[in-house]
């Protein structure tokens, strides 16, 4: 008897594939994201071909009076972070005069990771839940906050960058002239920067002010620099709020190494 090859009709094939697609769509993202990560894992070498990391490998400046733009940015980030920490310590010292504060969590630490792939406003890094990473943790690039962990599998994670419109994080804007901060929420603009939402005009904010990621219980112990305000004008649609644009501390396309802030890594792993 001749063996017949199974060949479904066009309609059966279409319905079968469509139903398979529905199943894929309904499967939890934590499960199917393993396929995305596996693709990046397998083709990581090819995906990074042509990546522009040259920025970080510029030869040092020969002039004793000038430094490169990247070096300047690095020093500026370090300086502003120190300034924010100093402000925080000053506030704590003032508070300590009144009440005894609990010790900062000694288990807070950083997990260093490499960027293995980059998509639109997203990085894929080579660390995962095995290293204590979980959703919502802050990610630093050369000490400046560049995004948050969006998904973490066992040994690979995706980072939603602050330039993504789906990334909203609480921030503080420094106002050194009156020695305070203004709290707000920042959202990416899907380009190379971000905007600050619904900031009323009663706050005296100027272009050039520093923007910090605000402390968040379990994720960030002290403010960390994000960038600075590049544009601050009266809102076009609502004149009682500011239209604020934030410029990131670094060009995120050139970042190759990141650090994830992991609070209580022992508990996370």
């Amino acid at each position: 008897m001749a063996r017949t090859r199974f060949k479904p009709s066009k309609l059966t094939l279409f319905i079968g594939l469509f139903l398979f697609g529905c199943v894929l769509l309904l499967l939890p993202q934590t499960l199917t994201s393993k396929l995305n990560f596996a693709f990046i894992d397998i083709f990581g070498f090819f995906l990074n071909m042509g990546s522009s990391a040259a920025y970080y490998h510029q030869p040092p400046s020969t002039s004793p009076d000038f430094v490169s733009r990247h070096e300047y940015n690095r020093l500026w980030v370090a300086y502003t972070n120190q300034q924010a920490e100093l402000q925080e310590y000053k506030r704590q010292i003032e508070e300590l005069g009144k009440v005894r504060l609990t010790e900062p969590d000694p288990l807070a630490g950083l997990v260093l990771a490499k960027v293995v792939n980059r998509k639109d406003n997203q990085f894929i890094i080579n660390r995962g839940s095995n290293d204590g990473l979980k959703n919502g943790q802050y990610v630093l690039g050369d000490n400046a906050v560049i995004g948050v962990i969006e998904q973490a599998s066992a040994d690979i994670s995706s980072v939603r960058l602050i330039t993504s419109s789906t990334c909203k994080i609480p921030i503080r804007i420094s106002a050194p002239q009156i020695g305070t901060y203004f709290n707000g929420t920042m959202q990416g603009d899907d380009k190379n920067g971000a905007i600050i939402l619904n900031m009323p005009q009663k706050y005296k904010i100027k272009a050039g002010s520093n923007v910090y990621a605000a402390e968040k219980a379990g994720f960030l112990l002290s403010p960390r620099i994000i960038g600075r305000i590049s544009r601050c004008v009266i809102g076009e649609t609502n004149p009682v709020i500011w239209d604020i644009t934030v410029e990131t501390a670094y060009n995120l396309n050139n970042i190759t190494d990141v650090a994830v802030i992991v609070i209580n890594p022992a508990a996370g792993g």
Partner: protein
């Protein structure tokens, strides 16, 4: 169709699409890039007979999902609209390059709108950018004029386009 060659072509296109190489031809600070998989979807949908076109459309959709954020939305949207195009081409031949470019533009808009609706089921925080969908579709359509010879050569290599325009495909 030579399915192993087809799988190799689709994987290669997906890797190039997701790679940093595409950044070199991206435009503006919104990083507008052409979609190679969209171009392949339209090519295979109009070049293969409808049975093969259904398989190709879903397979290319799966590759698009692998390079994206979630598995499923592109699989369904590419599959549905690629199948629809394979049937439309029985009525409208889409012979000329201009018509094919227009098909890429329309398919780009439709598939990505459908995919961005479906992705909400999986990743509620995902946001669709209509301007980006529009510009990516235009860019892909324009790129078709430059890459059509290469894509057609690849298509012949995988066994597509043999029954193209005029020759009666074998009915299943």
């Amino acid at each position: 169709m030579r399915w192993f060659r087809f799988a190799f072509l689709i994987i290669a296109a997906a890797v190039i699409q997701a790679s940093a190489l595409m950044g070199t031809i991206s435009l503006t600070d919104m990083h507008i890039k052409p979609d190679l998989l969209l171009i392949l979807l339209v090519y295979f949908a109009i070049s293969c007979e409808s049975y093969d076109a259904i398989i190709c459309s879903f397979a290319i959709g799966f590759a698009a999902d692998l390079t994206g954020a979630a598995i499923g939305p592109h699989f369904i949207s590419f599959g549905l609209l690629g199948t629809a195009l394979a049937h439309i081409k029985k009525v409208i031949l889409l012979k000329q390059t201009r018509q094919q470019a227009a098909a890429i533009f329309v398919m780009g808009i439709l598939t990505y709108i459908l995919a961005s609706i479906l992705i909400k089921f999986k990743v509620p925080s995902a946001a669709a950018n209509m301007f980006k969908i529009f510009t990516v579709s235009i860019y892909s359509a324009i790129l078709w004029f430059l890459v059509k010879w290469f894509v057609r050569a690849m298509g012949k290599w995988v066994g597509a386009g043999v029954f193209r325009f005029g020759a009666k495909p074998q009915e299943r």
